[in-house]
Symmetry: C2
Subunit: 282 residues, 2 copies
């Protein structure tokens, strides 16, 4: 535990292009991204969902062949690359959990894996491959602020960013694989709008790292975004930019001030005693 | 109670410009808007927050001079104007509740006032004038779908649209007075982004009726918007358009299908057993 996170933090989302099933090649891409982040003095590096394996598995059997545990040497190599730094890496991986498969995220620093979170809201055919997690998402106290973790579709349930904000998260890191979707030209992609609303209503920073690389015909929004505590976009890829990184310096501790007027506060103004009450009908 | 709401419904937000303290003039504007809506075969008319009185009260004493009860003849006149129709009007008013003042909304049809909702989340200096409501927001079953009601700042607490969606709301009507705020040119105003995210994650329609008319130096977004069940804008004013109305035909019952993939459903995918759990820290 540290009392850190009151200074500036350089946040990066590195929108990699994992190759389906290429555990070794994807591991090299992850390590290269970590080394580049260290070279660029990045403090918090967010990488995509399932960055170790890719996403479009035919079935659980195929996924099982590339699932790893949190003891996998890859994470020790990431920790080794962070030696001498306070940098934190948030990376999605296909996890073997006994006989189950999980869509998981590891938070890694120079000491090793700080925590693993298992995605609790599974999207579409993920339900045929993975078992959803049964634990609440974590908040990790780091030298660069308190980092909450969600995975992709989790974020679109407003209860999830809310519970992380209530637990004191300054920044929510969201490894994602956003399947490409239609949207009006005037609007950003729907998932970014969800991130903006979640950041604003909770007064937190949110960093969503999407992915690139067509996989079995599936394309992605390629719309990584870092949203500030007011819900405005601090850094973003150009949609469809391919494998690219976005980086921005922010003060995560600004998320600890939830006041919005002399009389208002995003958290203090909640009415939790009402939210479970029965809705009257007329 | 009706089993209605499976057909098309014409929704209108009429972005009036109330004049502070002019109960009689504002009443005339409200009635004119209702009569125009009936002439235009509008099914659901949403009017601004505090449409009877304006917003920028100096203090509670000033507001008390123009506060009315739900028995006020204005609402009977609105009901009278709806005679022979199934049209529903959702209108904000400054309510006298014994010795208290409330920032309230009446839902009115040809039978009279169906329900009154008292704003539960007060913004800024409203806290010096009004007492917040202690009841959950209602859902009103109408011939044009199940209409939930929120007021302005209420909507920015995601628990509120969520509880209305869980109670079966098809359309959430939100009388608002949105004080003008800065936003990046690329983005819509922040409150509209909140409405888009709330509509999408709950699979409901949302109609926010903002207001026009500078009041004691205060300007408004003038950004009324009707959002579809996917979170996209179906109708909107041009920001700063002044007093104007937006109208669109939708099928509110489409909100009853929450499926988003062969394996997903906005409501069914919730994990309520997790949302109150303690967040682990590392």
């Amino acid at each position: 535990m540290t009392a850190g996170g009151t200074g500036v933090a350089r946040i990066r989302c590195d929108q990699l292009a994992p190759v389906l099933g290429d555990l070794e090649g994807n591991g090299r891409s992850i390590l290269a991204a970590v080394e580049q982040a260290v070279a660029d003095r990045v403090d918090v590096l967010v990488l995509p969902e399932l960055a170790t394996t890719g996403y479009v598995f035919r079935d659980a059997d195929e996924a099982a062949t590339v699932a790893v545990t949190a003891d996998d040497p890859l994470f020790a190599r990431v920790a080794g690359a962070l030696d001498g730094t306070d940098t934190v890496v948030v990376v999605g991986f296909c996890e073997r959990d006994g006989r189950l498969l999980r869509n998981s995220v590891a938070v890694v620093d120079r000491t090793g894996v700080r925590t693993v979170y298992r995605k609790t809201h599974l999207w579409d055919r993920e339900t045929l491959v993975f078992t959803p997690g049964d634990a609440a998402p974590p908040v990790v106290d780091t030298a660069h602020g308190r980092i909450g973790v969600l995975v992709c579709y989790d974020m679109e349930f407003p209860e999830m960013p809310r519970m992380l904000a209530l637990a004191g998260a300054d920044l929510i890191a969201v490894p994602t694989n956003w399947p490409v979707g239609d949207h009006p030209e005037r609007d950003r992609v729907a998932e970014v709008i969800a991130a903006q609303a979640a950041a604003r209503t909770n007064g937190v920073f949110i960093a969503c790292c999407d992915r690139a690389g067509t996989e079995r015909g599936q394309d992605w929004n390629e719309a990584s975004v870092i949203v500030d505590q007011f819900g405005w976009v601090a850094a973003e890829t150009e949609v469809g930019a391919g494998a690219t990184a976005i980086t921005v310096d922010v003060f995560p501790a600004l998320a600890r001030d939830k006041s919005t007027s002399p009389h208002n506060d995003w958290i203090g103004d909640r009415r939790p005693e009402l939210y479970d009450r029965k809705v009257p009908t007329a």
